[in-house]
Symmetry: C2
């Protein structure tokens, strides 16, 4: 695996690699877990070459968020990616990818103010800007993102569509720990007690799935039991529990196949998200 830190070097290396066929790309912020490795594994089935990036993007952190304490474990991450079969790793510094002179940004428009964007002003503008830059540098045919970040996925699909980017976004399923908690680099922040509290998120979503399996498709009814358990624990601050269209993120009254049921909550200082897409009955 090549590890590159400069834009110019990565551009040249990816140009060479593209002679072997298209590139599938897995952008990450490092602190890798099995969720990231599942993206790499899926990417390998799609293209002869897999590129990954590790960049803790300052543009997508708010002033009071966890940019400084976000886990940085580059050596371990690089070894994991190499073992997973990644061909090229781009791991630039902030000065390389977001120099102080940088002024141009990619603005996702109204979608960036909904759900996670409402809680994190500027977050999705930062995501869209960096993803656009990474796509320009690596020019992948395909980019793999986790379904866990469902709002990010909606915004990146809109980005590709609106800006006519020649890269296809592929979503990969949420990977969970045996206790049901969706994998996240931020789970490392949780104390054992907080982790127990956090399990209310997957449990709440399971309740919604039960309601749907029982034929309750009206969102207000299907979400009610989940809402009850998410508001029952004083150690959990519910941010949203919604049923929305997966592309427009607009609330739906009836949950139909493809509807996104998503939850966000704070446990201690840690913000957690989880979701599922409603299936055919």
């Amino acid at each position: 695996m090549q590890i590159l830190t400069t834009i110019a070097g990565t551009r040249a290396a990816s140009r060479l690699l593209r002679q072997n066929g298209p590139i599938a790309f897995v952008p990450t912020m490092g602190a890798l877990h099995a969720g990231h490795l599942s993206l790499v594994a899926h990417a390998r089935t799609l293209c002869p070459t897999v590129a990954a990036s590790i960049f803790v993007n300052p543009l997508q952190f708010g002033p009071n968020e966890d940019f400084d304490r976000y886990p940085r474990t580059l050596a371990r991450d690089a070894a994991m990616l190499e073992a997973a079969g990644v061909d090229l790793l781009f791991a630039p510094s902030v000065a390389e990818l977001v120099p102080a002179s940088s002024a141009t940004t990619v603005d996702p428009g109204p979608l960036a103010s909904l759900l996670d964007g409402a809680a994190r002003p500027g977050h999705f503008r930062g995501v869209a800007t960096i993803v656009t830059k990474l796509f320009h540098i690596l020019q992948p045919e395909i980019a793999c993102f986790g379904q866990k970040d469902a709002v990010q996925l909606a915004i990146l699909r809109q980005l590709v569509r609106d800006l006519c980017l020649p890269t296809q976004i592929v979503a990969c399923p949420i990977i969970r720990d045996p206790d049901g908690l969706a994998l996240s680099s931020r789970n490392a922040y949780l104390t054992p007690a907080e982790r127990e509290t956090a399990l209310a998120l997957p449990r709440a979503l399971a309740l919604v799935q039960n309601s749907l399996a029982n034929g309750t498709r009206l969102a207000a009814l299907a979400l009610a039991p989940a809402h009850a358990i998410l508001t029952a624990d004083a150690n959990l601050a519910l941010e949203y529990l919604v049923a929305v269209h997966p592309e427009t993120l607009l609330t739906v009254t009836e949950i139909t196949p493809g509807t996104l049921v998503a939850v966000a909550a704070r446990v201690g200082k840690t913000r957690l998200i989880d979701n599922f897409l409603a299936r055919n009955p």
Copy 2:
């Protein structure tokens, strides 16, 4: 010359053409004149394939600007581009390139509020958004723009740098009519009397060049005679006459080689711009 109106068709055609080597691209709003043809001629010296586009971009017109009356002369333009040696012309409809659902935009940041951007709020966001889309569709190695739109040039160079676009911006010299007026599609709006008034722009710039040739490099002194003639005619509304850094667009006190000396004014309803880059003494 292939004439294509769909994004998918143009993407496929440009992918095929890139097998012959890199593409040089000339984006236009049509209503072509010798300035545009000089861009095509220069593009032909740079790459084996030349692509052009014609698109009157609604995003870069303000609500009270001339989007509706902007000249549209597609058949004539296409014949001119074919005769000039263009291989591929992309001429999409507004619905194809800017569908109503489109929400993502490219924001140039503070540079977009200076000079022409101050007079035309949102203009350069519209330019940056469409140019980014066109670059994504055609994936040119090089794109040629006229030096006449000097602020646009600064913003597009910043765009390429900030977003790491794999396209190089090449500037081509201003082309003038025999009377000195810089070519512009909007010159067609001028009555004979307005055209005479408009000649104050190149005359004013020539005065600044004279001052520089005589060794006057302090901007305030070098611009003063030009300012006098630009404010002497009640039929001309001066918008700006400035000496600025060509990339930052910030005012300079001393004019040195490379300084951009630029003017904008309205004659009747028509907004005109002109400029030169100071040379070595």
